[in-house]
């Protein structure tokens, strides 16, 4: 098997008002023709890693190679191999969709006729044919993301970097984009994808690495990661702390995973969701406990973190609200609620 992307001990510290060690010895390898997921919360170093790998940023230490070419020593060559769709759709607002694609094609020094034909192809592939000659100001967020990806593909890159490609998109647009990415991989493209969503990594990536504070804290297949986690999370809300404590004891009997009690809120990962839910409800009823909320959900990045590090994902102190996805909001609310309810146990969050 050929390795398409290789990171070895990458280090990067941003100096400024306060020093940030964005990459603290990051290593991983991506097999040719596969999707590799870099999973991590805001501020964990995903974008910095992508910037190093795409020749944009010089690391303080370590080496990186794309198809065997050192990204620093052979930056010019690497740039002809790769495509990049950054975290924020990097498109020119004042141009039309077609003009954006053509601009990137021309900057790749491709033949004009090829660029024109490629623009038609890409607009069709990304369902932007009708919007192709409209200025970008009229595009929705999902359309911008699609155009951004289309522009990254003009020169038919063999290695593609996607930095949080679906953050901020509605579920429909997210699904559309996932399908496009899957098509690309079927065509032989190697993809490195960063994401905050376990669901996304699970759907697309064949391997993933979890980043925390610039370090890889876990690496493996999504399946192995979920096996460690338990397949489903059961969340129960109660009206009193006493009820929560008793519920915790009941849920503990459901399986191998230990429930987490946070104030009036209890959650536990379970291997068989529906079965566990029925059992839990039956036992709660038997003890005359009335839950106020009762949810089954997929494990999130948050749960991965909890199981790997013993703490939930932290907000970057610079805490920008720019990631704004539905999951992100829920995660923040949950973290805050946990802090209010149980200041001692969550003290390490600070």
């Amino acid at each position: 098997m050929t390795i398409a992307i290789e990171a070895e001990n990458l280090e990067k510290t941003f100096k400024g008002k306060r020093q940030v060690r964005a990459l603290d010895g990051v290593s991983f390898a991506v097999e040719e023709g596969t999707v590799f997921g870099l999973l991590g919360p805001n501020g964990s170093g995903k974008t910095t890693a992508v910037r190093v790998l795409t020749t944009i940023l010089r690391p303080d230490g370590g080496t990186a190679r794309v198809l065997g070419n050192d990204v620093q020593k052979k930056a010019g060559l690497v740039r002809t191999i790769i495509g990049l769709a950054g975290q924020y759709a990097a498109v020119d607002e004042n141009l039309t969709g077609r003009e954006n694609i053509q601009m990137v094609g021309n900057l790749n020094h491709l033949e004009r006729s090829f660029v024109a034909q490629r623009a038609v192809e890409l607009l069709r592939q990304f369902d932007l044919t009708d919007a192709g000659d409209r200025p970008l100001k009229t595009y929705s967020g999902g359309m911008r993301r699609r155009l951004d990806l289309a522009a990254a593909l003009v020169a038919r890159p063999t290695v593609l970097f996607l930095d949080e490609p679906t953050t901020g998109l509605d579920p429909q647009s997210r699904n559309d984009l996932w399908e496009v990415i899957e098509q690309l991989v079927d065509g032989g493209t190697t993809v490195l994808l960063t994401t905050q969503y376990l669901e996304e990594a699970d759907r697309l990536a064949s391997r993933l690495a979890v980043l925390d504070h610039g370090r890889v804290i876990a690496e493996g297949t999504p399946a192995s990661m979920k096996a460690d986690l338990g397949a489903t999370v059961l969340e129960v809300g109660l009206s009193t702390i006493e009820d929560a404590r008793r519920t915790g004891a009941i849920l503990d009997a459901l399986g191998p995973h230990t429930p987490l009690v946070n104030g009036t809120f209890v959650e536990v990962t379970v291997d068989n969701g529906p079965q566990a839910a029925m059992l839990a409800l039956r036992n709660l009823d038997g003890e005359s406990i009335q839950p106020t909320t009762f949810n089954l959900r997929e494990p999130s990045l948050d749960d991965v973190f909890l199981s790997l590090t013993g703490h939930r994902t932290e907000e970057d102190e610079e805490g920008t609200a720019d990631d704004g996805p539905p999951d992100g909001k829920r995660r923040r609310r949950w973290t805050r609620r946990a802090e209010q309810a149980l200041p001692v146990a969550t003290g390490e969050l600070a």
Partner: protein, 281 residues
């Protein structure tokens, strides 16, 4: 993997990172690509069109018909003839602000991030921007010339001299573009770039010989107001367009000093802009 079979065809047919000649061609082609892009943007941003057309016209009308009557010009020169060289220089100077705003915006929106991952010439982001400025300014001086003629501006020195004045203005504007490029690359966002630009522009354009004779100012201001770059260039244009009598020195006196300022700016500002572009993370 059939990497080579599906590789997209490049213009030169040569693989990237080729010889010096290929590289030189790419510098030119990338500069043109981005020049075109920046010019398209001007035609599509109403504010940009406004700043380069309507604003100078308003200034001409304002000074010609509102303030002009109160301003005494030495030697009995009609005020409109005194004014127009000032309008030219002031307009291109204000226009250069769009360079700082545009670059700051490209940085902010991540466009430059994308450019950095492309196999394009590194300097093209800056040369494309400043070249677009030159093209825009050619249109601007044509518009101002037309407006000036319409309100009674009568150049007296002949076409050659007038053309020399226009070239001097375009060179000065080009030098300023690099200065505002530095500002745009230093600002955290486009709003700040704009805010940073005006405190530099206002004293340069208004504490100058652009609109009023310098001898009407307090004596402690006169030295700066006479020899700062905008004033020197205005005086050079005045001498080249309507004669040197009102300027107090010979045409060559002002022209040479304007050239020195412009060249000095370019020598300092181009490397500075490139450095800022390289080191901006």
């Amino acid at each position: 993997m059939t990497t080579t079979a599906i590789a997209a065809p490049t213009v030169s047919g040569a693989p990237h990172g080729g010889g010096i000649l290929t590289r030189a061609r790419w510098v030119v082609s990338d500069t043109l690509t981005l020049t075109r892009r920046n010019l398209l943007a001007i035609t599509r941003i109403p504010e940009a069109l406004f700043f380069s057309t309507v604003q100078p016209i308003m200034f001409v009308l304002l000074f010609r018909y509102v303030f002009g009557g109160a301003i005494a010009v030495p030697g009995g020169l009609p005020y409109v003839d005194y004014l127009m060289p000032g309008i030219f220089v002031q307009t291109v100077a204000f226009g250069a602000v769009s360079t700082s705003i545009g670059l700051a915006e490209d940085l902010q929106k991540g466009l430059i991030e994308r450019f950095r991952a492309l196999p394009m010439s590194r300097g093209a982001v800056l040369t494309g921007r400043t070249t677009a400025d030159v093209v825009r300014n050619v249109f601007v001086v044509i518009i101002i010339t037309a407006v000036g003629l319409a309100v009674g501006f009568r150049p007296t020195t002949g076409a050659l001299s007038y053309t020399a004045a226009i070239l001097l203005i375009l060179l000065f504007a080009y030098a300023l573009s690099w200065g505002f490029a530095v500002i745009g690359l230093s600002a955290p966002n486009s709003e700040t770039a704009q805010v940073m630009s005006f405190p530099i522009l206002f004293p340069l354009t208004f504490i100058s010989a652009a609109f009023v004779p310098v001898h009407s100012m307090p004596s402690w201001l006169q030295g700066f107001a006479t020899y700062q770059p905008v004033s020197v260039t205005v005086s050079a244009c005045r001498a080249l367009m309507v004669g040197a009598q009102v300027t107090g020195h010979s045409t060559w006196f002002w022209t040479s000093r304007s050239l020195v300022w412009s060249v000095l700016f370019l020598i300092v500002l181009i490397p500075l802009a490139i450095h800022r572009y390289r080191t901006r993370t």
